[in-house]
């Protein structure tokens, strides 16, 4: 089985990289891009039957830093 983990900075945490991307879009004339947040995607190859609780534990203990980030798991 496969799972995809999306890691994003929490709302309210300044994202200087996303802001730089937004600025660059504006420079290209995409004025409608009013905000950009940059995150990470991790794709996991997992043993069949791996529980969602186990994946959540991976996210909590390593894949995200819950001080500044949120995560979302998508089972593929």
């Amino acid at each position: 089985m496969k799972a995809r983990v999306h890691v994003m900075l929490k709302d309210g945490v300044l994202d200087p990289q996303g802001e730089a991307v937004r600025h660059a879009l504006g420079a290209l004339g995409f004025d409608e891009a009013e905000g950009v947040r940059q995150g990470k995607v991790l794709e996991l190859d997992l043993a069949d039957g791996t529980s969602e609780a186990r994946i959540a534990e991976m996210c909590e203990r390593l894949l995200s830093n819950t001080v500044i980030e949120t995560y979302r798991v998508e089972i593929l």
């Binding site: 300044l14 200087p16 990289q17 390593l62 830093n65 001080v67 500044i68």
Partner: protein, 222 residues
Amino acid sequence: MKAAVIVFPGSNCDRDLAVALRQAGFDVEMVWHKNRDLPGGIDLVGLPGGFSFGDYLRCGAIAARSPIVDAVVAHGNRGGHVLGICNGFQILTETGLLPGALMRNRQLKYICRTVPLVVRNTSSDFTSGFHDGQAIEIPIAHHDGNYFAEPETLDRLHGEGRVAFTYAANPNGSQTDIAGVLSANGRILGMMPHPERAADPALGGMDGRALFDTLAGSFAAA
């Protein structure tokens, strides 16, 4: 008076830290990250600067899950002293021994220069050799030194006197100018500036030396 300096793949300030600690009178043992135990009788653990594991995933994230770090966390939780500098500070926040997180610098640039700091805590075993509000100059060299914590955490850190150093002119966007923070018991210090790079006249500065001498003095007095 014994110190262990942990060496991760990608550490690059481990030997500088060992030199600074030896100058202050510590016996220093270098400890590879794959070891599970610290040497016996260790008073201080140093987590050095560098780019452990290539800064993959998040700075310090993978180092913080190294075998030796369980022993470092246990040492800290027993009331042992830990000093994390730069990448070492990032590792300390990733373990949860210190609150908050270090994010990408506000201007997205790697910054390598000597910066003015203000000493904010003078009661810890690391900082009692300074006076309150003392202006010192210590080099920084980081891409991810922008300190972030929730507002209530920031209030607590300032209220409890756990902000060790602030930047006199904020170089990286750190919240409330924070350059270094202490644990609740004052025995764990994490800081982005490199005191070991200002601990010898040949390096162009001596302001960092006071930190190592103060620490050595506190063990000698204990």
